[in-house]
């Protein structure tokens, strides 16, 4: 139920990262979702796609990385993982 808010937070984070890198286009954002994070990944994907369509950041893909608990992880991850970016041509 709170996936829409989380999708907004992901977009805000990408926007903040873009602002720090002038000229760079962000194409994909990776997010780690823990087993016990309480996030429904299908719903998050749907919310993200709906929001991003209307956003200057489009086209922007979302890559969700599922993290099971155990092996030193608590399983409550809701972390930013990576950005895939296109840099401006330098010549």
């Amino acid at each position: 139920m709170h996936e829409l808010g989380i999708a907004c937070s992901i977009l805000e984070a990408v926007r903040a990262e873009s602002a720090r890198r002038p000229g760079v286009r962000v194409r994909k954002v990776g997010v780690r979702i823990g087993e016990y994070s309480g996030v429904d990944t299908e719903s998050l994907r749907f919310c993200f796609e709906t929001l991003v369509k209307e956003d200057d950041l489009a086209p922007l893909a979302l890559d969700l990385e599922y993290c099971p608990a155990g092996n030193g992880t608590r399983g409550d991850e809701l972390d930013l993982s990576y950005l895939e970016i296109e840099e401006p041509e330098t010549s």
Partner: protein, 223 residues
């Protein structure tokens, strides 16, 4: 295409505001508690019983979250302590920004205890730090003993589980021992209190827990 690693939480902005709130609570010696449960487990009844135990003039305040209506705020205002309703208009949880906004009109120097009743929901509120000293999960005996297994997130993060409505135990097939084992299986450190807001049984233990934590908050104020 180049890949760059990112550090940080998706809810980093919420966490940043929560950290500011936590610091403000620490400096003022305020104990802040975040009550989370399914709808109907008895959060508001527990808070009513809690307020009843304080003398007039005690430095207690409440924030109560609901999707709609200020019914809970009206129920809780009868006790004469400051109460503010946070109506989320659809959102299934409180976040740190809502708490921060609703606290602005209060003078923190005049508070010792801030009780926050989250929106009735065992899932979403778990992800949002409100700057509280502890999350308290309320479970009632009319629910399943397996709730800690079905909703492990909140039982993992809560310091205390309150098992409410124990007066109904003779009428429902709820096994207290199994519920305790399920909760401890998820979180071995979780404290558990059993009580009935209806009869008042077990409320002494809850009030002792609360007083102990308030004392700790007072002692931790930086010099």
């Amino acid at each position: 295409m180049k890949r760059i690693a990112l550090e940080g939480k998706v809810l980093g902005e919420n966490d940043r505001i929560a950290a500011e709130l936590r610091q403000a609570f620490l400096e003022h010696g305020i104990l802040c508690l975040n009550f989370i449960s399914s709808p109907g487990s008895g959060k508001t009844s527990l808070l009513e019983r809690t307020l009843e135990g304080f003398a007039a003039g005690a430095r207690v305040a409440l924030l109560t979250g609901d999707i709609q209506t200020d019914n809970d705020a009206r129920r809780l205002a009868r006790f004469g302590f400051p109460v503010r309703q946070i109506t989320t208009a659809g959102a299934c949880h409180l976040d740190a920004r809502m708490v921060e906004r609703h606290l602005r009109e209060w003078d923190l120097a005049k508070l010792d205890l801030l009780l926050i009743e989250n929106v009735g929901n065992l899932v979403c509120p778990t992800s949002y730090d409100l700057g509280e000293a502890a999350k308290i999960v309320v479970l009632s005996v009319t629910e399943g003993e397996d709730k800690p297994l079905k909703y492990p997130g909140i039982f993992r993060k809560a310091e205390l589980m309150i098992l409410n409505k124990t007066d109904l135990l003779p009428y429902v097939p709820f096994d207290v021992q199994t519920a305790r084992e399920n909760a401890r299986g998820i979180n071995p450190r979780i404290e558990i209190l059993e009580l009935s807001c209806q009869t008042g049984a077990g409320l002494d233990g809850w009030r002792r827990w609360l007083q102990g934590r308030m004392e700790t908050a007072r002692q931790r104020v930086p010099a």
